[in-house]
Symmetry: C2
Subunit: 314 residues, 2 copies
């Protein structure tokens, strides 16, 4: 695997993949973007990033955008930012660009993504990453990065999340002005991210409220805390222990964001399927299997099932 | 009190008061309607009722519609169907028409209405009634009664809900083609009604789903049952015991309704305040005071607080 001068592929480059891919390309790495609908626009007009860490643009001649990975070279580092609702396409999308020593890093939401990649391409190839970031796509090729931005990543198949490869990938991001670090335990990272996504993506979509509206009202904070307590219970039932102040830290972290609309709130606006199974379904199933009682999560999941344009119920 | 040839006043005649008042007037009783916005329309064009128990109309010359009860005579029977969100106006509205022997029957939703009337006009005057009915207002003076219709009523201030006066009022409704019966215990009746209103009005507004969509899907039924179990727990903590098959009966009763939109779902469509305190707030407070755990009710209440146009949060 060439991680000195890597060929990088971003699979499913929407807001998150577009932003991080643009950071990597801006730093001089060879980045190939797989974009479903924006590829031709981006080839013509480039990518524009508004970022709290500095605005920048990539002109058309510095963009390698592909409608399908079939036109890409084999990649040293494959970063998966595909929406989990399209995961059934993932094996077919990755097939053309995976080589013997490719590293596959999924930055997708929720649970189950590393397992899917491991089943299809071998666990040894897979790393998981959590992007703690506020990003929205404003228009084709136009992305707004309003807050945070850190990526934490870890190996999937080893007891330690850390590895030389993982550290090298973190370094590539760090050199691209993305704060990135390896963490010792991927499962912990996944549940820490869920501690935020489960309440804010869920309530944001259910109530059509941005994060500030949830965090700055008594009933919003009540609901957020009930859900965070359930996520803590679920995580603990799987052996993942949060530090005692983590919930308060996540609430404080949210206060800095301003009026942020989560991707699921935007999905609801645009009548697009929610990432229901990855963010709420699989965590709830894991909690139930471990006999953990998570009533607020179960109620939220059932509420979302009834409004998710991607479920069979609405 | 003249309940042989009574003067009847309907205070806050919307869909429910318009329908029952029209039934009474159609049967020949002297009925005065207090209507906020529809009075002049109704004086000009009358009232049209589409009802599963038989359509009928009241021509303008048989309608006594008033913008304010100040123009009404003193009433023998005052039927209150005012939306509970306007309860702060109730004392002033009733003042002109209450006489020494008036009976005041509230058919309003939720808890606290009898108490408010008792504080202002004396407990001995007050009766409570539950209207189990599917009614919507289609247009000014045009009401659709699609299912059910029974009124249960009881005295507020005596240990027995039943009384000669209560039976006489039930007879007046019965003679007007409204199935009506006295019940032995008002508190029981209130909680039985809440067993339906809490889930269906609440979820209907939160999810913008009609009753059939809630009852005919697995997640909808899950949420309904969780909430009904909480209402049962709350009622039991106050000494009100439901028969073991009541929840199933309420679900079966809902199946007959077809795609019914509750008043709170319609409130949400029209951006009008929800009856939040009467239907959810007061029952939750009562449950908490009795140390009953009702997590689904508490979550629903907090969700509704965040979307109710009448609360301070949205």
């Amino acid at each position: 695997m060439n991680l000195e001068n890597p060929v990088i592929a971003i699979i499913g480059a929407g807001a998150v993949g577009g932003y991080y891919g643009a950071r990597l390309a801006h730093a001089g790495y060879q980045v190939h973007f797989h974009m479903r609908s924006d590829a031709s626009h981006v080839r013509q007009s480039g990518i524009k990033i508004q970022s709290k860490d500095g605005d920048f643009s990539l002109p058309p001649d510095r963009i390698r955008a592909h409608e399908h990975p079939a036109t890409m070279p084999k990649a040293d580092l494959i970063v998966v930012t595909l929406k989990t609702t399209a995961n059934n396409q993932l094996p077919e999308l990755l097939q053309p660009i995976v080589k013997d020593d490719s590293a596959i890093l999924t930055l997708q939401n929720g649970l189950g993504n590393e397992e899917l990649l491991a089943e299809n391409f071998g666990a040894h190839r897979v790393l998981g990453g959590m992007a703690f970031v506020c990003i929205n796509r404003l228009a084709p090729g136009h992305i707004s990065h309003t807050d945070h931005g850190m990526i934490q990543l870890a190996e999937f198949s080893t007891p330690q999340g850390d590895s030389p490869r993982a550290r090298r990938i973190a370094e590539i991001f760090s050199k691209s002005n993305v704060h990135c670090a390896t963490i010792p335990n991927l499962i912990y990272g996944r549940w820490e991210k869920l501690l935020w996504n489960i309440p804010f993506n869920g309530l944001g979509a259910l109530l059509d409220l941005s994060t500030d509206r949830l965090i700055n009202s008594e009933p919003g904070l009540y609901l957020v805390r009930q859900l965070m307590a359930d996520v803590q219970t679920a995580a603990a039932s799987l052996g993942v222990r949060f530090p005692p102040d983590l919930i308060q830290k996540k609430i404080d972290y949210t206060r800095t964001m301003g009026p942020y609309k989560t991707s699921t709130q935007i999905d609801r606006h645009k009548n697009r399927p929610f990432e229901l199974d990855a963010i709420w379904g699989k965590p709830l199933t894991a909690a139930k299997r471990a006999a953990a009682a998570t009533p607020a999560l179960e109620i939220l999941y059932n509420n979302l099932l009834l409004i998710d344009p991607g479920s069979k119920f609405p």
